[in-house]
């Protein structure tokens, strides 16, 4: 009986219980920070306020906002930040300059993709990409 109980636990844990292949999650700065950046990047030994590797903090909305708007303004570009400034929509101009997208999608300038321990899911990468394309609502 006990062995069966544990097998059930394992099976439930391993099940893919998701139901939808589309993605209508909020494309907002707050959601992306809390749902993606905080659990994947804002861990204790990486970009938490505790460690703040390279000064970047992603374990809170305030920390992520300061990181993207003050500490490393090259992480996310909006159309207005381009030089010369553009009006929204600005195509992929802002996306192509945004280091955050570059580093999660491919590599940083040192050849590392983030997060170091495990890449983000494609769905999360796409959500961040579309958020930047949408002029990063909620960031400023």
């Amino acid at each position: 009986m006990n062995v069966k109980m544990w097998l059930c636990v394992l099976l439930i844990a391993g099940c893919n219980v998701s139901s939808d292949t589309s993605d209508d999650r909020p494309q907002t700065f707050e959601f992306i920070t809390q749902a993606i950046l905080k659990p994947s990047c804002g861990t204790a030994q990486c970009h938490s306020a505790l460690k703040a590797v390279k000064g970047d903090v992603f374990d809170s909305v305030d920390g992520a906002r300061t990181t993207m708007t003050v500490t490393h303004t090259d992480l996310v570009f909006t159309c207005e930040q381009l030089e010369p400034a553009e009006t929204f929509p600005c195509g992929d101009d802002a996306l192509n300059l945004s280091y955050l997208y570059k580093v999660i999608d491919d590599k940083d300038i040192e050849g590392d993709r983030m997060p170091l321990d495990q890449a983000l899911s494609n769905k999360d990468i796409v959500l961040i990409r579309e958020w930047i394309r949408d002029d990063a609502p909620g960031l400023n």
């Binding site: 544990w6 590797v53 993709r113 890449a119 909620g138």
Partner: protein, 368 residues
Amino acid sequence: MRALVIVIVVLAASRAAVAYPQFQLVKDQTCSACHLSPAGGGLLSENGLATAETMSQWGTAPEVFYKKLPLPTWLELGGDVRGAGGFDQSDTDDKGFVVFPMQADVYAAATFGAYSVHVTAGIRDPQDGNTTATLFASREHWVQWQQNPGETDGLFVRLGRFMPVFGLREAEHPYYDRRYGGSPLYGETYGVAVELVKPEYEIHATGFIHDPIFKDSIERGNGGALYAEVRVTEKTSAGVEAKVDITPDDKTTYVGVVGKQALGGNVLIQADVQFVHHKIDAGGIENQIVATAIGSYFIGPFMIDLGLNDYHENLAYKLLDQEAVDLNAHWFATSHLELILTNRFQMLAFGADGESSGYSLLQLHYRL
């Protein structure tokens, strides 16, 4: 450069003062049977020291500094030092050999009748650009009242800084029930805990607040945690757990079940399944599953762990799940020295959503 980055990143991957829950039911019934803390971890009791000696390859005096340091009866000292090195691969292009320190902590407990003071202090990976102020830290410090002084059971009340009791509380913080669940690395924070420990059951209730001064914790919220475990038989235990964590940005509710089953005298299977409801104040809800199951096999001075992990970031969507398989081999060489070969293979959606990652590391652990 990559190696340097990993060294820097993993420098902070120290282990909290947690124990091996693998020993419960196989070696003894409760964590407090071997540890001074009712939650387990940190300093060993007389029984814990005896266990460390008897299960190790070559024994040696298990007391701190091999009992060569005379201590008053009211004082207990100890510590843990860990380092690791090996191969790490995060994707096809990013791989290499790494070496890094993990932990350098000392523990002290001073007991005066029913009251005791416990402190864990040491070196942590400092905040970038703020090394001087953040290199040394005390992850735990609490005052404890114990109903039955000198005994391993009864009522305990703790006030101070510690990890709220929740989940399996493995030493290995990469296990998903810690990594994505309710007991993450550096999750110690200030709180008060009322804990009742009996051979047949234990209940731990903790109220906690975030550290508003030093901010030396990953915990950013206030809330409470409840953990209750019943030993159904000498070889079987079942538990329930709940935790609520409220930050200025979100509210996270964890509800879970824990089970442990010893098979014979040398196998333990344990599992922790947590359902997580994450409400983001600015809009958005996530329902998640975090699960870890570990099978442990004891043979002589060795403990072999096979761990299975599942994390589903958002149950409403496909391809947002992540899995990991761990295979760890512990060799308890002496009462103080442990060598661990730790291996992980990690996948996105069972390998259907991108490159997998993994590592194989040899870890040296010395207990003072």
